[in-house]
Subunit: 303 residues, 2 copies
């Protein structure tokens, strides 16, 4: 069988529940595959090959377009919950019973919904540049940045993903070069689908009353990664996620914005790899009832 | 020359500025040594051998007792600033011009003062379970936990360093076993020195007006590590440190308390090792004036 990479993996299709999903599968087979959930307006071509190929060295990587996005059929739904349900249908259509899930930005919200709706399907979770239901978006500059004009147009993604420092900007230009290498590219996301994504994020982050309660039920070992100053989904949301999940490691990168893992792809791949393979992480995956009282049990422990 | 470890490194002494400092040096020579700054009431014997020996595989490790602590002479000062000045004198007395500095708890505060007072002496900084000047201690349970009675007495350190979960507690018992292996032990910290440390932390954390301003001048690449729920120095302080330092990576471990790096020693050693050897980290070590305006430069860049 041919060994595919980010650049060479052919686009394949799978049909289910009324949708035809476009996907690409590559990397080392035999373990639990890692399913990548993309950000606002992104297609399979928007991932950083340094990240996907980096992780594909040790595991199978699955990129796809969700329903209504780019080369996948159907209409993009206007809730994150429905987007999550569509991904579950896609994963099951591939015949997979257990996956690791990575989600970036709105894809991180979708990843949380996948895990909430199908907890047995998900082994471990990686959340990059995202936030919980009811995320604090008050400091987000997303609307302003996406409304801007850029020349060349792909420099929009420097403003979205990278910081204004010279080193971050240089990392951004290197990322764009890697990202644009593949020639047989997915069609761009339609305005209609982008509007649906925007509406879904607005509803998701507008939740207030007990918004974070659902995080108590996400027991999968989770790695949360964000930049020190994310102007799209403010950084404090990753801190909130970590503080409200029972088994999450948080990593914040310096001088970094929304695309922090594209700024430090080798560091990210190494930390993600360590997280996905580590046996240590599962020990902390506790039901609240398994927790001992604290700290009285320690002084009461006379024998 | 004999190859020493945490268990076998002999206690040596160096004299300077009126103090005789006790220290132990071991590990791989030839690079930048890593100087460990200890927590409240701790001596050289309080470090986790899994951490010190783990890091000593790739670099020289220096443990010591600061002035007035255990086997070092003199009186412990009542300010973190003076403690930092004493460490600088100690490092210079060893003839070292460049070191990496690790600080844990009050030792992390001392590490920040070392770096503030002698920026050219410090290459990189690792801050574990600590906070900045003016740290928010409102949720700290330190007073209550240190006032408790424990049987055996060393179980105090389970309450200080580990969480109430069975897996964290098991990690705590394993840590105590490792910690107590060495037989020729340092004398315990005197009540007088402990009172001085307590006073120093109280003054340091009482600062309010522009308390965080000094962090702007700490440009060293910094790795910040803390547990998800640190009951001694509340976890939010590590987030504050990261958000106010120009070049800091933050890692928060799940289900962990003040001694998070003793709960996950292999993960910590691997991440610290990666941080200390990474070339990527230095790129972000910027003067604020080097920052480009954001994001206008991007759309203004028509050629």
């Amino acid at each position: 069988m041919a060994v595919y990479t980010h650049q060479t993996a052919p686009t394949r299709y799978v049909e289910t529940t009324g949708f035809r999903f476009a996907y690409r599968r590559f990397g080392k087979r035999g373990g639990v595959p890692l399913v990548f959930n993309q950000h606002f307006r992104g297609t399979m071509d928007y991932w950083d090959p340094a990240v996907t190929d980096g992780l594909a060295k040790s595991r199978e990587v699955i990129l796809f377009n969700n329903a209504g996005i780019s080369s996948s059929s159907g209409q993009a739904p206007t809730t994150v919950q429905e987007m999550g349900a569509n991904v579950i249908a896609f994963i099951k259509a591939l015949g997979l019973c257990k996956v690791d899930v990575l989600g970036f930005s709105i894809g991180g919200m979708v990843a949380q919904e996948i895990t909430t709706q199908a907890p047995d399907l998900v082994r471990r979770l990686i959340l990059v540049g995202t936030g919980p239901r009811g995320a604090d978006m008050s400091m987000s500059r997303s609307a302003e940045i996406f409304a801007g004009t850029y020349d060349p147009p792909e420099h929009l993604w420097l403003a979205v993903h990278f910081s204004p420092s010279p080193s971050s900007r240089a990392a951004g230009l290197a990322f764009l070069e890697r990202k644009l290498r593949r020639k047989d590219r997915d069609p761009e996301v339609s305005e209609q689908a982008a509007a649906a994504q925007r509406e879904a994020v607005a509803k998701y982050t507008a939740q207030r009353e007990c918004a974070l309660d659902y995080l108590k039920n996400l027991r999968q070992p989770t790695l949360i990664v964000q930049g020190s100053n994310d102007v799209i989904i403010p950084t404090v949301n990753s801190y909130l996620l970590q503080q409200n999940l029972s088994n999450a490691q948080l990593v914040l990168y310096p001088d970094a914005n929304h695309g922090s893992f594209y700024q430090y792809p080798e560091l990210f791949v190494s930390q993600a790899e360590q997280f996905l393979t580590s046996a240590l992480q599962d020990g902390a995956n506790l039901q609240p009832s398994e927790r001992l009282p604290f700290p009285s049990v320690i002084s009461a422990e006379r024998t």
